[in-house]
């Protein structure tokens, strides 16, 4: 196990370097003046530009500039906003919002996705199974953009008009946990469908596995065969999925927070794009990508805990 962890950590280093370089290259190597790109819509004053070139080391070779950029990231400097504030200050208070939103989504995903998936797998081929497949087909076809507005209108606005009770607040975070219910579900919807299908296929596959037959032949009670022998093995692909899904959730959070007016990182990203505050865009994306890589590292380690074949490779 120790060797696996060490190897996996070492492997993450080139990915971290490569990914930060990629982000750096996107900003500086794409067509257009990087200064203009960083400045956004504002006209660039020549004197200011010269100073900026100096400050951003734009006269140095690309690789040296990357070195500076990397040094900034490591020291926690993700750039400066137009008002001269460090980008990192923007994160304050916003991370909690996004984290709560993501957590709500993951809880929905886990409960509904895994639950429906198990149910469908155990009723394989019957109408319940087919209904789950049809519903998930619809769910993956409705993008967050659509489900967000539609559910906001139906469950938020219309339901409140019809009943006079505000079941699901549709904007802001003033209502605590309740504020996150609808956005969390919207954010999770596509992922719920995928996780349902993955759980279903995965469990169906393990239920056919020889070791499940062995467990039955050992006289193990049905609950134990399912819960210990089959489910434990089905978890492996599901955990892998959760890692990759975090990326989808991050992208979806931008849309969801914008629709529901949640003051999180996603909404900030949208606003910064809107205001063409590119340093902030770059800073936020960099932070989110780093979180994504680290989260996937954790998932990989979890994977090893679940599957001894990986651990002792």
């Amino acid at each position: 196990m120790g060797r696996y962890v060490l190897r996996r950590l070492l492997q993450a280093i080139p990915v971290l370097l490569g990914t930060t370089f990629l982000i750096f290259a996107i900003v500086y190597a794409l067509p257009g003046d990087p200064l203009q790109a960083l400045a956004g819509e504002k006209r660039v004053d020549p004197v200011f530009a010269a100073a900026m070139r100096e400050q951003f080391h734009l006269n140095e070779p690309l690789i040296v500039r990357y070195g500076y950029y990397l040094r900034d990231i490591v020291s926690g400097d993700f750039g400066t906003t137009f008002r001269g504030l460090p980008v990192s200050t923007i994160f304050e208070g916003k991370f909690q919002v996004t984290l709560k939103l993501a957590l709500t989504a993951v809880i929905f995903e886990g409960i509904i996705g895994i639950g429906l998936g198990l149910w469908a797998a155990l009723r394989r081929g019957r109408w319940e199974d087919k209904a789950v497949l049809a519903v998930t087909l619809l769910m993956v076809s409705i993008p967050t953009l659509v489900s967000g507005f539609v559910l906001q209108l139906m469950l938020g606005v219309k339901l409140k008009l019809a009943t006079g009770i505000d079941f699901f607040p549709v904007a802001g975070v003033q209502d605590g946990v309740r504020s996150y219910l609808l956005p969390g579900f919207v954010l999770a919807m596509v992922s719920i469908a995928y996780l349902t299908r993955l759980t279903r296929t995965s469990l169906m596959e393990t239920l056919r596995a020889d070791y499940v037959r062995t467990a039955i032949a050992k006289g193990m009670p049905r609950r134990r065969v399912l819960g210990r022998h089959a489910l434990r093995n089905s978890l492996i692909p599901m955990v892998t999925y959760l890692g990759a899904d975090l990326g989808t959730l991050m992208g979806g959070a931008v849309i969801t927070e914008t629709i529901f007016n949640l003051p999180g990182i996603g909404q900030q990203l949208f606003l910064s794009v809107y205001l063409r505050e590119n340093p902030v865009v770059v800073g936020i994306v960099t932070v989110l990508v780093l979180i994504y890589i680290v989260a996937n590292l954790v998932v990989d380690l979890l994977y090893a805990v679940l599957d001894p074949r990986i651990r002792y490779e």
């Binding site: 076809s141 993008p143 953009l145 063409r276």
Partner: protein
């Protein structure tokens, strides 16, 4: 194998011989399955319609999308004989705009899926076939691109490119740049499996060159999973385009995109939901048709995944 009708405990034998009644090859077998699959037929019919609409919007629209057809006096009106889907904030005909919006979705989806399929597929073929440093290099590079969630990455790329240069090309570029590694991985794995098959060994022993082996022997046997994933990706690209256009970095006005229409209708959404709901509905229907197609193709080409 049609083994999925039997559990693992059943004898492997009985289902085998019955296969003989059907055509033997993977492709003709798949086509046989597809023609009989209602999911495929409905999906294919829908997507054909959407492609026709995007190719010849003039045949389907009512008043066109010229700014002269808009009339602020009838802004945000409901469904009427003149305006089947009502009118938007500027008094433009929503139906005509929805019809014209199909083009962007279809083009971005198909071109992005094709570009990632070809680029990722070709690189995956090389990585899987040559192995060693070629594989190490390509796989490492792919891993780096893979580590950036695609919507975030595309948002960054498009923000840097700037709104003035944004359009279909830049959206396709941003989406494809981050999506090819997934195809590379799938192709690479399929090629490595195919490479060790007996017929490839035999072709090699008979002196076939690497190019011939790759294209004639390995590719046809490794391309199925790539087609499956590319079809599924197609839907994701269409959704991504709408999201990026909604966020303001994708397609720009006066071009028409469903994502953009949703963004424009957003502010008066509660009082006038139609201008938002109709593009949303058609966006979902387009994705649904592609997802149905993908589901059917996957079932046909890879019965194990069922």
């Amino acid at each position: 194998m049609s083994n999925d009708t039997l559990p693992a405990t059943a004898p492997a034998q009985p289902t085998g011989p019955a296969k003989g009644k059907r055509p033997a090859s993977l492709w003709s077998d798949a086509w046989y399955d597809l023609r009989r699959n209602p999911v495929f037929i409905i999906g294919a019919a829908m997507i054909t319609l959407f492609i026709a609409v995007s190719a010849f919007p003039g045949l389907f629209d009512t008043v066109g999308v010229d700014s002269s057809t808009c009339d602020l006096a009838v802004a945000r009106k409901g469904i009427s004989p003149q305006h089947w889907f009502g009118t938007d904030n500027l008094g433009c005909d929503v139906y005509s705009r929805v019809i014209h919006g199909a083009r962007v979705s279809i083009i971005v989806g198909i071109v992005s899926a094709a570009v990632t399929g070809v680029v990722g597929g070709a690189l995956g073929l090389l990585a899987g076939f040559y192995g060693r440093w070629v594989d190490v290099l390509l796989s490492r590079v792919a891993e780096i691109f893979f580590a950036i969630p695609s919507i975030l990455g595309a948002l960054l790329i498009l923000a840097v490119i700037g709104r003035d240069n944004a359009g279909i090309t830049s959206v396709v570029f941003a989406l494809a740049l981050l999506a090819w590694p997934m195809i590379l991985r799938i192709m690479r794995a399929a090629v490595i499996t195919a490479k060790h098959q007996d017929y490839v060994m035999a072709a090699r022993a008979l002196g076939a060159g690497p190019g011939r082996i790759m294209l004639r022997h390995i590719l046809p046997n490794a391309v199925a999973p790539v087609i499956v994933v590319s079809t599924i990706n197609l839907g994701a690209f269409i959704a991504a385009e709408a999201a990026l256009s909604f966020l303001g970095v994708g397609i720009q006005s006066p071009q028409i995109s469903w994502g953009l229409m949703i963004a424009d209708a957003r502010n008066r959404f509660v009082e006038a939901p139609l201008p938002l709901l109709f593009p949303a509905l058609f966006l979902s229907l387009t994705i649904l048709s592609v997802v149905m197609l993908g589901d059917a193709v996957r079932d046909a080409l890879d019965p194990k995944l069922r």
